[in-house]
């Protein structure tokens, strides 16, 4: 009788122990992290050294996939194209988002409505519907060209010209600035108005206080937006897949589109795995570079309350 009681007590103790409770609640993440991140990463590492194609048994081919990558002209071009896209779309998008957020900081009831209005493009941004609309807008007889012709400018073959095909894709990304805008708007609200009043007394104009007060105070948020948007820009897929299909002549053959095609069109899984790993390295380097450089331009005082 006493023994049973004791065992019950120790079971109770075990169940309500902080370690047990902690691991119980964290269990979904632990399983998910192992099953959906660590194991796939190991698997991907292994397959990147093989010629696996989903059908036949894979052969271990060492570094062949990686060597092949650096001799693959299309691959090198897709790296260049992706970097170009990230390099133009992210800063443009952030600048635009900051501009609109700044524009919508007035104390007015209408501002809430305006923010919703400006957020709408981002709301549906990831959807296939918007990509299809964009494709029509920039088609040869589309709306953009008819506006250009009304202005007396010759119409442009957006998707037929290697140099121009990227432009509609970048514009579409910039157009979906909503979430960055809202984060900026929240940051702007945090800046004490006394800062601006003091600057005004010191004789600073609006432009000066923007550069000397707004930007430094926002710098932690700029960093956050920059990192998040850079990562998501590297993964851009749907636009290129739907609107340009990577063309013309691979001018918009984004990295993730090329990985997709190698994996699911040619079933070259080993090669695609190697490509993913190179992508991870490139992205990590760029993220690291952003973080390293941030020490020079992010003022952490502003981030702490």
């Amino acid at each position: 009788m006493e023994k049973k009681e004791k065992r019950k007590l120790s079971l109770h103790k075990f169940l309500y122990n902080d370690n047990t409770v902690g691991y119980t609640f964290a269990l979904p993440f632990i399983i998910g992290f192992l099953g959906f991140t660590i194991v796939p990463m190991i698997v991907s590492m292994y397959y990147s050294f093989t010629d696996y194609n989903l059908i036949k048994q894979e052969n271990f081919i060492g570094l062949d996939n990686y060597i092949r990558l650096f001799q693959d002209v299309r691959f090198l071009k897709s790296v260049r194209v992706t970097l170009k896209y990230v390099f133009f779309s992210v800063p443009l998008k952030l600048a635009f988002a900051l501009f609109i957020a700044y524009l919508l900081t007035r104390k007015s009831k209408a501002v809430t409505f305006y923010r919703s209005l400006y957020y709408i493009p981002s709301l549906i941004g990831g959807s296939i519907a918007v990509s299809l609309v964009w494709k029509e807008l920039f088609s040869s007889k589309g709306l953009i060209n008819s506006i250009l012709m009304n202005l007396g400018i010759e119409k442009v073959s957006w998707f037929g010209d290697q140099k121009l095909a990227m432009v509609p894709l970048i514009l579409m990304t910039v157009w979906q600035f909503g979430s960055s805008m809202i984060i900026f708007a929240a940051g702007l609200k945090e800046i004490p108005s006394t800062y601006y009043e003091a600057a005004k007394i010191d004789g600073a104009n609006k432009g000066q206080s923007f550069v000397k007060i707004t930007l430094p105070c926002l710098s932690p948020i700029i960093l956050y937006n920059l990192v998040m948007q850079t990562i998501s820009a590297f993964m851009a897929f749907t636009q290129a897949f739907v609107i340009t299909k990577g063309g013309p002549n691979d001018a918009t053959n984004f990295y993730s589109l090329y990985v997709y095609n190698q994996a699911f069109k040619y079933y070259d899984m080993g090669y695609a795995s190697a490509m993913s790993w190179v992508m991870l390295v490139v992205m990590s380097l760029i993220t690291l570079l952003i973080f390293k450089s941030s020490k020079r331009w992010v003022f952490s005082e502003a981030g702490q309350e």
């Binding site: 979904p28 209005l117 990562i231």
Partner: protein, 283 residues
């Protein structure tokens, strides 16, 4: 005196006029798509600026709904709803549990797990896309909705982090009071934390619903039978179906596909904006 006041008034009017006009330009493509669902091919393709259809072609909706290959859009909408609802529900529940463990319980290994979670947040999804496909393929799950919903049962770093931020704002005294009243950590979670977490849960539901509803790549890779397709894949195929796409019908289905997103936005606008500004939504 009057002069300054007057100038201020003018400035105000100019400001609102500019913001409204610019906002109109921003949403123009969306409006163009919605009204395009009532136009005919010629109207859509000749680049007309007009938002008003010359004659309202409601039949576009009927034509669109017919779908392709004998499968109507009713099926595609149903599929999208099933996937989205399961995935969203799973994400909210699992992420809340994990967030609670990170935010409120002290246990060995917590820091390591938390760091691991932050890493997954920064990890590009595409690196694990292919191996995941290979694994699902070996498990025989490709062609079912399992790969689209399964990962959501194990918490999502982005939402876990967001909920942790929110929990940090819930006073610890509440936990202590509940402990004194005889609550265990399990009941504190279900009786104290979860009810107070509601705003964060609602935000998670909305954002995850959007992501899942609009998801294109997942269904593109994992679904291979037309009767299982989600709306996003169906619209793409509808556009590709033949050389003579019925653009009006395509826009009609596109508009309908965005309807749930718009409705949720309309009802939960406040939550959404708050959720994004505290957590930072990608996109």
């Amino acid at each position: 005196m009057m002069g300054i006041k007057f100038r201020k008034q003018i400035g105000k009017v100019l400001y609102h006029a500019f913001v409204l006009c610019f906002g109109f330009v921003m949403v123009y493509p969306v409006l163009w798509m919605i009204t395009g669902s009532l136009k005919n091919n010629v109207e859509i393709l000749n680049g007309s600026l007009s938002l008003i259809p010359p004659n309202w072609r409601w039949e576009n909706f009927a034509n669109g709904f017919r779908g392709f290959g004998g499968i109507t859009f009713v099926t595609f909408f149903k599929n999208s709803f099933i996937v989205t609802v399961i995935a969203t529900f799973a994400t909210v529940v699992s992420s809340a549990c994990v967030a609670y463990s990170f935010a409120r319980i002290k246990y060995r290994g917590r820091k390591v797990l938390f760091t691991a979670m932050l890493c997954t947040m920064m990890l590009p999804g595409q690196i694990i896309l292919i191996p995941q496909y290979i694994i699902y393929n070996k498990l025989g799950m490709v062609g079912s909705i399992l790969p689209l919903v399964l990962p959501h049962f194990f918490g999502q770093a982005f939402f876990i982090y967001q909920m942790m931020q929110f929990m940090a704002g819930i006073p610890r005294e509440l936990d202590e009071a509940a402990t004194i009243d005889g609550c265990s950590k399990y009941t504190i979670f279900s009786r104290v934390i979860l009810p107070l977490l509601k705003p964060a849960l609602v935000t998670t539901v909305i954002i995850q619903f959007y992501w899942k509803w609009d998801d294109f790549m997942g269904p593109l890779i994992y679904l291979n039978k037309p009767q299982d397709y989600t709306v996003s894949i169906a619209i793409k195929l509808f556009a590709d179906a033949s050389s003579t796409t019925d653009y009006g019908a395509m826009f009609a289905m596109s508009t309908l596909s965005l309807l749930p997103v718009f409705l949720i936005f309309l009802f939960f606008n406040k939550y959404l904006v708050e959720g994004i500004s505290t957590s930072g939504l990608k996109g």
